[in-house]
């Protein structure tokens, strides 16, 4: 803990990373350091976190293996038959073994649709978190390191955006993008519009955190030393300061993943997300919601439960990661 004591950033040792100047024996010590790290210990100590991790891995694994393990392909419209619609789960009266968790109003198998839907939700979540973090990280580094007018402009934009709820920003961007691409066939385009909408509505948090850490780091001796020997600002920012701000970014990213998935679900629930022919979890909940009063509870219950479990598990992981990486809490 001695190498970066006065820093809210995690120690590099805790992250299992070598410090910037010490590059010898990297490969061997990384694994060893990880196995011996506080991170692993604190992880194994909390049963809840282990359960959350197992659950996250299970849901994500199932989602990404959807094409291999799903009994049906819900995106293949050819295979749908309206006559299978509204089938209850297999154990209920009128259920069909072929459809373990029942079917929706178009005859799609709920289990398969959930697997594919979770995959879409996760893909959108991960891509938008990547976009938000890369954008936020770069802008935050730039603002923090250069300071002055650049800093003022970027941070004021961030402040303005913070005054709007992120779902509103996402709706706005989604609406504008749809209006621009109205006359284009949106084959797969909707996916990237959602990534853009969610990504752009989440970058502020990263930028603010990264800027804060950068402000502290840029006055440290190692940065000044680097500057003295004539290393360019870009290289200093990305090679020297960046590793020190990755910790908090990792924490935000984990928690944001949940938020991004929920935002995607919300957008789809509001009818501006993925099209109903390629349902995500949110779209499924939106469709199922219509049948709440007619007794077809399975259409909304299973996707709703999956979304809740996934959100809970990833959130628990994120919370734990934040505490584990915060030296002040240890």
């Amino acid at each position: 803990m001695q190498d970066v004591p006065e820093n809210i950033a995690p120690s590099r040792a805790a992250l299992g990373e070598p410090s910037a100047g010490n590059k010898r024996g990297v490969r061997r010590s990384r694994l060893a350091a990880f196995l011996d790290s506080d991170l692993l210990h604190s992880f194994l100590r909390s049963k809840l976190v282990v359960v959350a991790a197992v659950l996250s891995v299970a849901i994500m694994g199932a989602a990404f293996l959807a094409p291999l393990i799903a009994p049906h392909d819900p995106y293949d419209l050819k295979s749908l038959s309206l006559l299978d619609a509204n089938t209850p789960p297999a154990w209920e009266k009128g259920g069909d073994r072929q459809f373990l968790l029942g079917t929706d109003d178009q005859g799609r198998d709920i289990l398969s649709t959930m697997l594919y839907g979770t995959r879409s939700s996760l893909q959108i979540g991960i891509c938008s978190v990547l976009l938000a973090s890369v954008l936020g990280l770069s802008l935050g580094l730039w603002a923090g390191y250069v300071g002055g007018r650049v800093d003022a402009v970027i941070m004021r934009i961030a402040d303005v955006q913070l005054t709007f709820p992120s779902i509103l920003t996402a709706l706005l961007i989604d609406g504008v993008a749809l209006a621009i691409f109205r006359h284009h066939s949106l084959d797969g385009g909707k996916f990237w519009i959602l990534v853009l909408a969610i990504g752009l509505s989440f970058w502020v948090q990263y930028a603010r955190t990264v800027r804060g850490v950068t402000l502290v780091e840029r006055n440290k001796e190692y940065v000044e030393a680097a500057r003295l020997i004539g290393i360019g600002p870009l290289k200093i920012m990305f090679q020297h300061i960046l590793p020190n701000v990755l910790g908090p970014v990792l924490v935000i990213a984990t928690i944001n993943l949940v938020l991004a998935i929920i935002t995607e679900a919300t957008l789809s629930f509001l009818g501006v997300g993925l099209p109903s022919t390629e349902p995500s979890l949110g779209t499924m909940i939106q469709v199922g919601n219509k049948y709440l009063f007619s007794g077809s509870w399975w259409m909304v219950a299973f996707p709703g439960l999956t979304l809740a479990l996934l959100a809970l598990a990833v959130n628990l992981l994120g919370d734990w990661l934040r505490d584990a990486l915060n030296p002040k809490l240890r």
């Binding site: 419209l77 050819k78 749908l80 006559l83 109003d105 949106l186 219509k290 007619s294």
Partner: protein, 531 residues
């Protein structure tokens, strides 16, 4: 015990007294998925728009729920003895607009001329008019281009505005809805109707209060004192509000909820057929489709492609599953109420996926093609569900359909713009005149001037146009019906539209309210008595 039962009867008396106290009138909270697009009486010829407008404004002649024509602002009408092309309307006396000014012949002439303006969406109903003129304060004459027995039928949704009010508020010109224009009449109303506007928030809530100066006081029950018309788009939310007692009346019950509502003790559901058919339209004439991967030609221009679509859609499956039996599968886009409708026209094409594939192959699309289907999601019963089902059925013959479902406002704009901005779309058409001419002139006539305003298929056939025009002036009923049959026969071979079903309506309400389904789906609240 005695004291207790006395207390009970006292309580009962109090309750009875309260009920009796409010028995002559009650407020009604009324919910529907979609709102009126505008309050300008002539800007949109659309069901839900008329549904709100008919509370505020009145036509010369009203079509009742039973189909009967009821003298409203006109007390009588006839053709003049010497000239069958001149219709004379005697106007009701002592009628006041909500702002207190008197209704007279100037208002009628003004309103009809306003409805004939280029930006009016009602102009398509009035193509027969040559000239409107005032005889005296309570008599108006309409000169038609030829003898036309159906004149009264065309006037049932034509609302009368106050000339002075329109001039004062700069709303003499009809709002251009499809160009997103605005005017004072879009958010304000001054009619002669039984209800006057209190407040309006588009797509949220419209509050109306019973018009104390209404001419029909004593003639109609007028048991509803105040109307709060709420737009609740989500099916589940709308039904939840009814179940919780927050609202009194839902005009569009999702088919999946009918059974549940019928079983709820304090609620009831009234069912009935609507004078409306739901169908798909295709752009049959553009050189190229905007949303297709086929370039340089238009697959829909080939009749075989249209026929393939027609036999690939399994209407009975849509009826059974999506509509839960609450619809009548259709082979023609005219509902059974309409003059000219026959069982033979309405015969369902046999579903045949193999034959459809063969037709596509003959047309040169053995591997299918891509196209976007535009669909409303708050206008017709389960509209988006229908589109999804169609998308899956067309996938079986190799057509990859991108489904774009959106609220009716933007959806209808795609259809009404010239040129239209859709290749393939879902639409429903109701027929307030109960005559085929209304279907022909709006949906099949070449889009030009007053005609074909809802025909986004670009279908154009001069011979058919001529025949449609002739219906306006043919006075011999036998000959006229023969022309109608002839037009339907030609159109049947063209497959410009793919009829899906005739819609059935379900109204749900609290037991102490009785709103019967009207085939036009317009709820005339003045006929509702308080219980």
């Amino acid at each position: 015990m005695v004291a207790k039962s006395m207390l009970k009867s006292a309580a009962a008396l109090v309750v009875l007294g309260l009920v009796a106290g409010t028995a002559d009138a009650r407020p009604v909270k009324w919910a529907r998925a979609g709102d009126a697009l505008t309050l300008d009486p002539h800007a949109q010829n659309e069901g839900p728009t008329h549904n709100v407008l008919q509370l505020l404004y009145e036509p010369l002649i009203l079509r009742e729920r039973t189909g009967k024509l009821l003298p409203t602002l006109a007390t009588s009408w006839k053709t003049t003895e010497d000239d069958p092309t001149v219709w004379e309307f005697t106007l009701r006396q002592g009628v006041k607009f909500h702002n207190g000014s008197t209704f007279n012949a100037d208002d009628v002439v003004f309103s009809l001329e306003r409805a004939l303006q280029p930006t009016s969406d009602m102009k398509g109903l009035l193509t027969f008019i040559d000239k409107v003129s005032k005889v005296d304060d309570h008599t108006v004459r309409i000169k038609t281009k030829g003898p036309n027995a159906l004149v009264p039928n065309y006037l049932t949704n034509l609302y009368m505005m106050d000339k002075e009010w329109a001039e004062t508020n700069n709303t003499v010109t009809v709002q251009d809805y499809k160009e997103k224009k605005d005017n004072f009449a879009v958010r304000n109303a001054n009619g002669t109707g039984a209800y006057a506007l209190v407040s309006r928030e588009q797509d949220v809530r419209t509050v109306l209060r019973r018009n104390d100066g209404y001419w029909g006081k004593g003639e109609f029950p007028l048991g509803v004192s105040e109307i709060t018309y709420l737009t609740i788009k989500s099916d589940a939310t709308r039904i939840a509000a009814l179940l919780s007692g927050e609202i009194d009346f839902v005009q569009d019950v999702p088919v999946q909820d009918i059974e549940r509502l019928e079983k709820t003790p304090n609620l009831k559901v009234n069912l009935g057929p609507e004078n409306r058919t739901i169908f798909l339209g295709m752009d049959v004439a553009s050189p190229e489709l905007k949303t297709s991967n086929v370039k340089g030609k238009n697959p829909f221009a080939d009749k075989r492609v249209r026929q393939a679509f027609n036999i690939a859609v399994d209407r009975e499956a849509i009826k059974r599953v999506v509509m839960r039996g609450q619809s009548v599968s259709a082979g023609v886009i005219a509902p059974p109420f309409v003059n000219g409708y026959t069982k033979e026209l309405d015969a369902l094409p046999k579903v045949d996926v193999d034959k459809a594939k063969a037709l596509l192959k003959d047309a040169g699309y053995a591997d299918g093609f891509q196209v976007t289907l535009n669909c409303p999601n708050d206008r017709y019963i389960n509209d988006e569900g229908i589109c999804q089902a169609v998308t899956a059925m067309l996938a079986k013959i190799g057509i990859k359909v991108n489904l774009v479902a959106q609220p009716k406002g933007p959806h209808f704009t795609l259809i009404q713009k010239s040129p239209p901005e859709t290749d393939f779309y879902l639409l429903g058409w109701g027929v307030p005149t109960y005559d085929s001419h209304y279907v022909f002139s709006f949906l099949y006539h070449t889009r030009s001037g007053k005609d074909g305003t809802w025909n986004a298929t670009r279908f154009s056939n001069p011979d058919i146009d001529r025949k449609i025009q002739s219906l306006n002036t043919e006075i011999d009923v036998g000959k006229r019906n023969a022309t109608i049959a002839d037009i339907w026969k030609t159109l049947g071979d063209e497959t410009v539209y793919i009829a899906l079903h005739h819609q059935t309506l379900a109204y749900a309400m609290k037991k102490d309210l009785d709103v019967q389904v009207s085939p036009e789906n317009a709820v005339h609240m003045k006929f509702i008595a308080a219980k």
